[in-house]
């Protein structure tokens, strides 16, 4: 397939996922739009070298995450405040209504939580939220599947704990 054809296929299959990924890396809507354009651009350029060494999905997510990581790394003031998932686990919730009634508010809170994370942990949580298993995530990140599985376990704990602090009687 040509570069243009590969891009078309990727854009059709993963456009919505790339939109969501951009949200995980950038809060400001205008900057997010620029980031997303950059991701699409880098993706198209990367397809000049695509040789099928990995699946299209892995390739797309790698390029997208790497582009977004570059965006985060450049913002030194933000980069220096990022934490790992282990640190989030031990932090108290900022707001007891963290995952409150409305879906949009829950999404906003979830996005804010994700944006506090360092790039690697951010990739893992985004991959988990996109429904990928530990092996697929490991292929994208370069971590071992065991390491990824452990992080996903921590992520689930963080999300469950923050939800149950709000809804202690929920089953």
């Amino acid at each position: 397939m040509s570069q243009d054809e590969l891009y078309r296929t990727a854009a059709e299959g993963y456009s919505a996922a790339l939109d969501r990924l951009a949200r995980a890396y950038e809060a400001n809507p205008e900057t997010r739009r620029d980031l997303l354009q950059d991701i699409h651009l880098q993706l198209w350029r990367s397809f000049a070298s695509f040789d099928g060494r990995c699946s299209l999905r892995t390739w797309v997510y790698r390029v997208a995450h790497n582009t977004a990581t570059g965006h985060v790394v450049k913002q030194r003031r933000i980069r220096e405040k990022l934490v790992g998932i282990e640190e989030i686990e031990s932090m108290p919730s900022d707001d007891r209504n963290e995952f409150a009634a409305s879906q949009s508010l829950a999404l906003e809170r979830l996005s804010n939580l994700i944006r506090k994370l360092k790039p690697l942990d951010r990739q893992i949580i985004v991959s988990y939220l996109e429904g990928m298993d530990a092996n697929a995530t490991a292929e994208i990140t370069g971590l071992s599947a065991a390491n990824v599985a452990m992080k996903i376990h921590r992520i689930k704990n963080v999300l469950t704990r923050r939800f149950h602090e709000v809804n202690p009687h929920a089953e």
Binding site: L110, L120, Q123, T141
Partner: protein, 201 residues
């Protein structure tokens, strides 16, 4: 309150922002980037050349108080003039359309992140060398030194120059200490990630 809180569902069902880019958009964006790179390089070249001429004129005409045999400010201006020319060349070499190079790799994210942090660290360590800042500070230092010698002879001039000299003297240690701290943090993060890379091989 949502009893069925499902973060995956919340995440995947978020409204899409409809930011599709067509191939025509991509090609247009590539051309825009090349134009922007070219413009940035041109500005750098023009400014560098302009500053070169400015410092050469100042040094030659003696406006910086380079009276008679006072060579220091003239040498300072000459150094700054050459440094500005170097910056113009630097702008051409590093900024001229590089959009054809792929800025992002398709390597696994861990390796990419380590490399990005190393690039930041190396830039911090070598920015003086790369940008010829040593020569810039030598030139500025020569100009300040000649002002200092005038301070000794001219108290009025000294009062005017004193705040600038004090601020510069305060700024240097603060800048270098802050830079050293930031480099150490960066190095620690790189080491942690490399440890992770070794673990995961």
């Amino acid at each position: 309150m949502p009893n069925d809180f499902n973060p995956q569902k919340i995440w995947q069902e978020q409204p899409a922002e409809k930011n599709k880019m067509s191939l025509e958009d991509i090609h247009r964006k590539m051309q825009q980037l090349e134009r922007k790179d070219r413009l940035t390089a041109l500005i750098s070249i023009v400014m560098g050349t302009g500053l070169c001429i400015f410092f050469a004129y100042i040094g030659a005409s003696g406006h910086m108080g380079a009276h008679g045999g006072d060579a220091l400010p003239r040498i300072g201006c000459a150094v700054l003039s050459l440094w500005s020319l170097y910056e113009a060349w630097h702008g051409y070499k590093w900024l001229w359309p590089r959009s054809s190079e792929l800025a992002v790799t398709w390597s696994a994210s861990l390796q990419f992140y380590i490399r990005e942090l190393e690039k930041r660290r190396d830039y911090q360590l070598h920015v003086w060398q790369r940008a010829g800042l040593t020569w810039c500070f030598v030139g500025v230092g020569l100009l300040i030194f000649s002002s200092l010698s005038r301070v000794i002879h001219d108290r009025h001039y000294g009062w005017n120059a004193a705040p600038f000299i004090i601020l510069t003297a305060l700024w240097f240690p603060i800048f270098f200490r802050s830079r050293k701290r930031k480099l150490m943090k960066l190095e620690q993060e790189i080491d942690t990630l490399k440890g992770l890379e070794t673990e995961n091989r």
